[in-house]
Symmetry: C2
Subunit: 321 residues, 2 copies
């Protein structure tokens, strides 16, 4: 949870509610009760809490620490495909150690936002019996904490990264080859570090910005829970484009909104079959397509259930034949 | 129809059967009887005709002129996303004036390959009653012959270009905005230059390389056949990804193979409804996905009907939810 200052060719906001936790929660809360774990500083006033509360997001796990809230500033290029980070002040995030509330320890659908893999592990270990675990990361952790990342990878049911991260992690340019390697990293568990968790199949989502996403799943889940598969690993594959929009204002938070919509849809339906994962991708993409229409979290704050249903149907028309 | 010399990181061929006419015809002939109009030189031996004849492509409109066959050489970068043209020798193409055979003048489904728009116009004018006209072009003609291009645009039912061409022609970066402008260019006809032709709706396909394609159609065809629509032009939109392949060897001819499969499917089914245009896009994308698997036209020469049916079904699984 952060203060975001964003400049795009179409507008500017300063010290607005942001951070991946905010985007994720605003999107997920459209589908299911959402509980946020994070930290803010003493400068995080009620004004910032209000939009989250309005969507009934449980903020009991949002710790308020002494100091300043994490702050980020970024500026986008003319075509919105590149952005420069103007500043990143970790502030209270630097020493954050997540402590889950008792009622949060029973949650089944868990998403571990982009953070040091060790913090992600510490968070997950507080959940009694996770049903379905989503995981995000970034290039920084792939480079700085590869061992820890590989540990948490084995505990995730679904791993959501972008194409450059997938290429860096797998050292493969071709995304199908990259996906095979990463799925093997997720699948090879011996001994399985968390005995209470039994994964059906490892799933990977590779985000490609305006070009949408590819989702991969090992077609034949290993029954032994150990061993690297042969080169011929067979995978199920699904693709969803970015929604073609005439006006894109601010891409900030699109990936987090996707993840929120995706996990929210799964939690709401309680169904993690391949066909329902496809629909969850559509729900996530719907949320991402709304997010980019206005600056910061503004559009996510105002959309209604009927907007979501309409765009979900438009996505079907766009892709099904 | 050309001699192609191609170098990719995965192999090399020299003076092989190529040119957009060859790729297009090999793909289209999988779906319907295909008649090719073009020119080759006296060096175009039977060896080059054989793969086309094997697919029963009508070569009676393939003029053999004195001189050398059009020859092109290209070299691809490591990731296949960029290529340098090493040489382009127009040879007999420089003075080509297409003359259709009498039996070709009655053809209904016509595709005008990338060439000077005036040559495209002269070709189309020899067709008695075209049912459905497809059109290709390139940046070169957008820059060098914009007036002539805008004339032929108004006679095409479907216009197939890539994203950079769409951006250059419309002077819009956003592809939805670009599509609206180009569809208006196709629609605004007063007086309609070819009275025997009555178009249902203008359709535009924007190809995005490995990211697939977007297809746009004006949702409410103009009934008067004249007048520019308001800013609020409503469009139907369809998206299809590139097929995720583990091994891509040579992207040469992918766009032409797409166009061939697309037009062949339409001619075979005789149905130009929006839903069938979607299926035709899938048929075209299937052919493009095969084309890139081997160097030059090799893969197109060997595929069978069962290969096409299987990958068509895989495309459905890949995109439908």
């Amino acid at each position: 949870v952060a203060f975001d200052s964003i400049e795009t060719p179409f507008g500017k906001i300063n010290k607005a509610l942001g951070g991946s936790g905010s985007y994720f929660s605003l999107a997920a809360s459209q589908f299911c009760p959402t509980s946020l774990v994070g930290v803010v500083g003493s400068d995080f006033s009620d004004k910032y809490r209000a939009p989250l509360r309005k969507r009934n997001i449980d903020l009991s796990g949002l710790e308020q620490a002494k100091g300043k809230t994490f702050a980020w500033g970024g500026k986008y290029s003319f075509d919105l495909n590149n952005r420069d980070s103007l500043f990143t002040h970790l502030n209270v995030m630097a020493d954050f150690q997540p402590k889950l509330q008792p009622h949060q320890r029973g949650i089944g659908f868990v998403f571990l936002g982009n953070m040091h893999p060790t913090i992600q592990l510490k968070t997950l270990s507080q959940i009694k019996k996770p049903k379905f675990v989503g995981l995000d990361t970034m290039n920084f952790w792939i480079e700085k904490a590869p061992k820890e990342l590989k540990k948490i990878l084995k505990l995730a049911d679904i791993f959501v990264i972008n194409d450059s991260e997938a290429r860096e992690l797998s050292k493969e340019h071709n995304l199908v080859k990259a996906a095979k390697k990463i799925i093997r990293m997720m699948e090879t568990i011996y001994p399985r570090p968390s005995p209470h968790k039994r994964r059906e199949a490892a799933t990977l989502i590779i985000k490609r910005g305006e070009y949408g996403l590819l989702m991969f799943r090992s077609a034949f889940p290993s029954t032994s829970g150990r061993g690297v598969r042969g080169e011929g690993l067979s995978m199920q594959v699904f693709h969803l484009p970015g929604f073609p929009l005439e006006n894109v204002t601010d891409p900030t938070g699109a990936g987090d909104s996707f993840a929120g919509g995706f996990m929210g849809y799964l939690a709401k339906t309680g169904d993690v079959s391949w066909n329902n994962l496809k629909r969850a991708c559509a729900a996530g993409s719907v949320m991402a397509s709304f997010d980019v229409e206005k600056l910061g979290t503004r559009r996510l704050q105002e959309i209604k259930d009927s907007d979501i249903k309409r765009r979900f149907a438009e996505f079907k028309n766009l892709t099904n034949f």
